[in-house]
């Protein structure tokens, strides 16, 4: 992976025996670039931030007893609404499934075309990109900025710095503000926020997220990627020689030299590289790396160096694509005079894609097949069974019946698996349906009850009979079951 050994380094590292305890950060002010990848990044920035800021306002009709916000995390009532899907706390495994899917998609992206997530979609990248654009808008491009530091008046520099930080804080505040809208009815909360009647926790979270956004996107920036994020370390182990990455084609670029020098060499018939060492790729890089040193941890593969290099190549009349999405293997093959090889379908990508299909399929299937009611049962731990005065045996269970519909429903409870079983239910239930006790469960609610099963039948020693509790919607007829055991002495 490390091409540093193949390419001559630009600067020889300095060794200082009295090096300080810490390394002062070299602040990075990337230049503005124009080109395909910049356009892609602008588009993705608008789309992703647009979704983030506006999604809470999207409405979704769920009937009278449920909120009408398309995406809502209702912490107080323990529900997560996502369009037509409603997730209960016990269904948190869907979130686990989503996380597994997210990891697999990340792996697949990485195996096909490198750090697509890091370069285009990661919130850290998107917000940093936006903050850097604001910085350039207020203070000018890095060169202009350096000039201003020397020439502009102190007042003007202070005004620009204040403007920049104010704009940053406004974006950060909006970011935190949008976040809390996912946890309450958005239009109501916006009104409450502006009239000062919102819950304290909403203001607190807005403050926290304003602070983190301002610090992470405004001040920490590429340090989040290089120091804090584990993904750069992991992804290097998941890539291979067939994966497309933002690559400096050193087969074409080397030996590098100034424009005049390389032109002169070429005129004399001596082979010269296309790289004119203008360092525009470094100047455009939001993490400040030199892509010509090869794939590296700090390179988030955002493609901005491609745009910067293509612009220069057009100006000097050389073909574009000196930096491009390419595989390391192809660079080496071209150096050996071999034809480039592209292999997107390979064991790694097929495995990731297959796993995505399997996990996604399982999730869709379980989501489609889950019922609108549920029952779970716990056997009393102590005592396991009770001997009654007529010599019969009784086991006690706790049942929890779930009604996931937004209407109250009545459920008949039955037990199966114990000979001569008698089922009693503790607590204010007198209604029966065909001899089965019936409970009413409110809309979108659960109901816990104590069920007593007794039998006069003679059971074998150490009996443990499998029993099944079934809960049937009296009106709709939908039945759910839960298994347990009936214990004897």
């Amino acid at each position: 992976m490390n091409m540093a050994t193949k390419v001559e380094r630009l600067d020889e590292p300095e060794y200082d025996d009295d090096a300080p305890l810490y390394e002062a950060r070299r602040k990075i002010y990337p230049i503005a670039v124009h080109g395909t990848f910049r356009k892609i990044k602008w588009t993705l920035l608008i789309v992703t931030l647009g979704i983030y800021y506006l999604l809470p306002f999207l409405r979704w009709d769920r009937g009278p007893n449920a909120p009408s916000q398309a995406v809502l995390v209702d912490l107080a009532n323990g529900r997560f609404y996502f369009f037509f899907i409603e997730i209960w706390p016990q269904e948190i495994y869907y979130v686990t499934g989503l996380l597994i899917l997210a990891a697999l998609v990340l792996f697949l992206m990485n195996a096909v075309a490198g750090r697509l997530w890091c370069g285009y979609l990661c919130p850290q990248t998107v917000w940093t990109d936006l903050f850097q654009a604001i910085e350039r808008m207020v203070e000018g491009d890095p060169r202009e900025r350096r000039e201003k530091l020397k020439t502009a008046s102190r007042g003007r520099r202070a005004f620009e710095a204040a403007s920049k930080h104010t704009l940053w804080l406004m974006v950060a505040w909006w970011t935190g503000g949008a976040w809390v809208l996912y946890f309450a009815d958005a239009p109501t909360l916006v009104w409450q926020l502006f009239t000062g009647t919102a819950p304290m926790v909403a203001y607190l979270w807005i403050a926290i997220l304003t602070f983190t956004t301002y610090v992470l996107a405004g001040h920490m920036r590429e340090q989040v990627c290089t120091y804090m994020c584990p993904w750069p370390r992991i992804q290097a182990a998941l890539t291979d020689e067939y994966a497309f990455n933002v690559t400096y084609r050193y087969d074409r670029g080397e030996p590098r030299g100034s424009f005049k020098k390389t032109e002169a060499l070429r005129a004399a018939g001596v082979p010269a590289g296309d790289c004119i060492d203008c360092k525009q790729c470094v100047a455009a890089c939001p993490t400040g790396v030199d892509i010509r040193l090869g794939s590296q941890l700090a390179c988030i593969q955002c493609g901005l160096c491609i745009d910067a290099c293509d612009t220069v190549m057009n100006k000097v009349g050389r073909p574009t694509g000196l930096i491009a999405y390419d595989t390391e293997m192809n660079v080496e093959r071209r150096m050996k005079g071999l034809a480039p090889v592209t292999k997107v379908l390979r064991a790694r990508t097929l495995l990731y894609a297959g796993l995505i299909v399997i996990v996604g399929g399982i999730m869709v299937a379980t989501l489609a097949m889950r019922g609108s009611e549920g029952v779970s049962v716990i056997h009393d731990r102590n005592p396991l069974f009770v001997r009654l005065s007529d010599g019969s045996l009784r086991n006690a269970y706790t049942l929890r019946i779930v009604n996931k519909q937004s209407l109250p429903r009545r459920f008949a409870i039955a037990v199966d698996g114990v000979p001569e079983a008698r089922l009693e239910v503790v607590g204010g239930i007198s209604v029966t349906e065909n001899g089965h006790p019936v409970v009413e469960v409110g809309p979108d609610q659960t109901y816990e009850l104590r069920a007593l099963v007794s039998t006069s039948a003679k059971l074998p020693a150490n009996a443990s009979l499998p029993v099944t509790f079934s809960v049937t919607d009296v009106v709709g007829g939908e039945t759910t079951t839960a298994p347990d055991h009936f214990k004897g002495p």
């Binding site: 050994t5 390394e23 950060r25 920490m220 120091y227 005065s389 503790v426």
Partner: protein, 294 residues
């Protein structure tokens, strides 16, 4: 093995090493990021401030109490006060409702059972067991056999005033020590023990020839006054039903002979005054809803 090489620069990265080497792997001496280092210093400063503000260091007799005066015991008191406020609405409902109303309302029943379970674990479990299954001499509260009655009111009465307790309204019943006090002779005791076992069809042990006629005669003269002529007991006197399958002190012949010889006088303390009325209500409902309530 760790070896030491002083002032060495790694050829590949150009970074100086710490001088340590393990199995040929040398540790590079990369400087820390400045923000990381300052965060680290800040945590050290924080630790010192914490020592000053909060209880921190043990002394010979006591500890440094900290300038904020924070005490874990006071924090618990505050949390308990919060808890009482949170429970307030439900506790008031529980206080106002009758025992029957509590059982009829799923909401109040759930609250009373939760509170009752906690109170039972704190106060009743030492004798009756955490699951109220009892043991020899301590009744199982899950079954349907009640010496002093299993209705809500009767259970509440028993909890409030206890059995043979110091409370003036305690349940009092007396199983005399027929043998020890010379009320009955040994053969009469054996005969009545066999007779009592026959009431609930318990098997006759090997080598025993029960004298049921004599036993019946002795039972009618000495036991029927409390346990009834048919042996079905009397909850007014706490006389257990001798015809069912439940035996507080054991159903084997020796246990029954021991009961007849020495008498029985189990004690349950009165909880009125020790627990507040709402807690006793919750306990009553909890015990009643265990499954045996009448």
């Amino acid at each position: 093995m760790a070896e030491h090489h002083k002032n060495e620069v790694d050829a590949v990265t150009g970074v100086s090493t710490t001088g340590h080497e393990w199995d040929g792997i040398r540790e590079l001496n990369n400087p820390l990021p400045r923000w990381w280092l300052w965060t680290f210093y800040a945590t050290i400063v924080w630790a010192f401030l914490y020592w000053i503000a909060y209880p921190a260091w043990p002394l010979v007799s006591g500890y440094t109490s900290g300038v904020l005066g924070w005490k874990s015991r006071e924090a618990v008191q505050v949390q308990l006060a919060d808890l009482r406020v949170q429970r307030g609405a439900f506790a008031e409902k529980l206080e106002a409702a009758s025992l029957e109303q509590i059982e009829a309302s799923p909401e109040l029943l759930a609250f009373a059972r939760a509170q009752g379970r906690a109170a039972f674990g704190d106060n009743c479990a030492p004798c009756h067991g955490s699951g109220a299954a009892g043991s020899k001499g301590y009744p199982n509260l899950n079954d349907d056999d009640w010496m002093w009655g299993g209705s809500l009111e009767q259970i509440q009465q028993t909890i409030l005033h206890g059995i043979r307790s110091t409370d003036a309204d305690a349940h009092v019943g007396d199983m005399p020590a027929f043998g020890r006090d010379g009320l009955l002779q040994r053969p009469e005791i054996v005969a009545v023990a066999d007779y009592v076992r026959s009431l609930s069809d318990l098997p006759v042990p090997k080598g025993v020839t029960p004298d049921l006629a004599k036993g019946k005669e002795v039972f009618a003269a000495n036991c029927a006054a409390c346990h009834g002529a048919d042996g079905k007991g009397n909850i007014e006197l706490g006389a257990p039903n001798l015809t069912d399958g439940i035996w507080l002190y054991g159903s084997d012949r020796d246990s029954i002979i021991a009961t007849l010889t020495n008498g029985r006088a189990g004690i349950m303390p009165a909880w009125a005054g020790r627990l507040d009325p709402t807690t006793i209500k919750a306990l009553t409902v909890y015990v009643h809803a265990l499954g045996g309530g009448q």
